[in-house]
Amino acid sequence: MNFVAVLLMLLAGTYWVAVLEDWVSTGRFRPAGPVLSGLALLGRESLVPRKPDRIFFEVAPALLLVSAVLAAAVLPLAPGLILADLATGALFVNAALAYVMVALLMAGWGPDGAYAMVGGFRFLGQLVAYSMLIVMPITAVAMRSESLLTTEIVTSQASLWNVVYQPLGFVLFLLAAMAVAFLPPFDLPTAPGELAGGVEAEYTGWRLAVMRLGRAVLVLTVALAATVFYLGGWLGPVLPPWAWSASKTLAVAAAMLFVGRYVPRLREADVLAWCWKYGIPLALLNIFYVGVVILGVA
């Protein structure tokens, strides 16, 4: 029962993320938009480019979707509303998100097209930039909760949310989360207007629909992760726990989408340089600061 409830909530959340993305990019609020464009994509022919690496080409969209769903599986929506409460949950989120990069690399290499290939390898470079900024802030979160269980991470924030306790980690995590989900200004692998869609360029019809769905689930997943790790997850007064999780997650997703609209796309070299020169030292500082605070409180 819980399993179905969680899946339905993830599906509903994904739908709203798609509506939000449409809203911020076109400026029009169309609640039926994702259904219509999904049906339109399913109605079109799904072309296979000449001489593709067929296995990669077919597997990539599915792998993107699966890795996003797997990452969401260890994140709680409410007490008991979680697909798998792993003892290594906080680590598993990273493991699942690593396969997003594998999926995009496959999607880049598979179709045998120049734009796609550039997009795929760009995302590999992007991973080198953001991966430490995902792992290190989560480390500081786990330090406070003294557990990798995502449910315990939420309950550890009962007295004070992590966004207040370690604001630096929150900012770094949010930026890295946007880079994982290749949202603007980190949309280097797709880069509309420059790479003609990049990794998505050669996908059409239902394959593109699966890919877009995977991307929307991914945006929801990273927003949910930010909610669980920093915004107290389901914690909150009056409303039922799941409603708090849902509203916080959608608010984070909306914020991430909204910011991207007003920031120009960054250059690959800049992303790498800034992440390593400023991001990682700041993340280390965050870990040090949290350690000092924990020892001081103890």
Binding site: A87, T88, N94, A95, L105, M106, D112
Partner: protein, 161 residues
């Protein structure tokens, strides 16, 4: 677990059966991921998840280097990657025999009847790393850091040149 083992072995074979560098690297990734699945099946949750996470990035980065350095990364012109077949067959057979010998002959001690709970495993692993094995991890970490700095220093061109 058997299924994961077979998958790991099969993907290991695929690594050498394909000429495409990216396929080869990603086949190795899925072989390693299957080993991660074996860890999970053995209820070594932390090790399994760590294996799944580390291998994804490592193998993908290996793929980009293989694409960079091979003259035919797509393997479209029928390049043959094998050489010294007899020597490598002999070495492979010897290695397999050696591994089998270790597996069969070594004294593994009494088999644990109960696996500790996953949370206890994480905790014990953390304490092990921070206590008995700390020196090993610190040494390895500093060595890798030194190598990274040295490699970067070599790679950067001097501005004066």
């Amino acid at each position: 677990m058997g299924a994961f083992g077979l998958a790991a072995a099969w993907f290991g074979v695929v690594v050498f059966r394909t000429s495409s560098m990216v396929r080869s690297a990603l086949a190795l990734l899925f072989s390693m991921a299957a080993i991660g699945g074996m860890f999970l099946a053995m209820e070594a949750e932390f090790l399994g998840v760590l294996q799944l996470m580390m291998m994804a990035t490592e193998m993908a980065i290996m793929a980009i280097f293989m694409v960079m350095y091979m003259m035919d990364p797509g393997g479209l012109s029928g390049m043959d990657m094998t050489h010294q077949k007899r020597a490598s067959l002999a070495a492979g057979a010897l290695g397999a025999l050696g591994a089998l010998a270790v597996a069969v002959l070594a004294d593994w001690g009494p088999i644990e009847a109960r696996v500790p709970a996953a949370t206890a495993q994480v905790r014990e692993l953390g304490i092990e790393i921070m206590e008995r094995s700390m020196l090993i991890f610190e040494t390895a970490g500093v060595t890798i850091l030194t190598a990274m700095i040295a490699a970067t220093a070599i790679a950067i061109q001097s501005r004066r040149r």
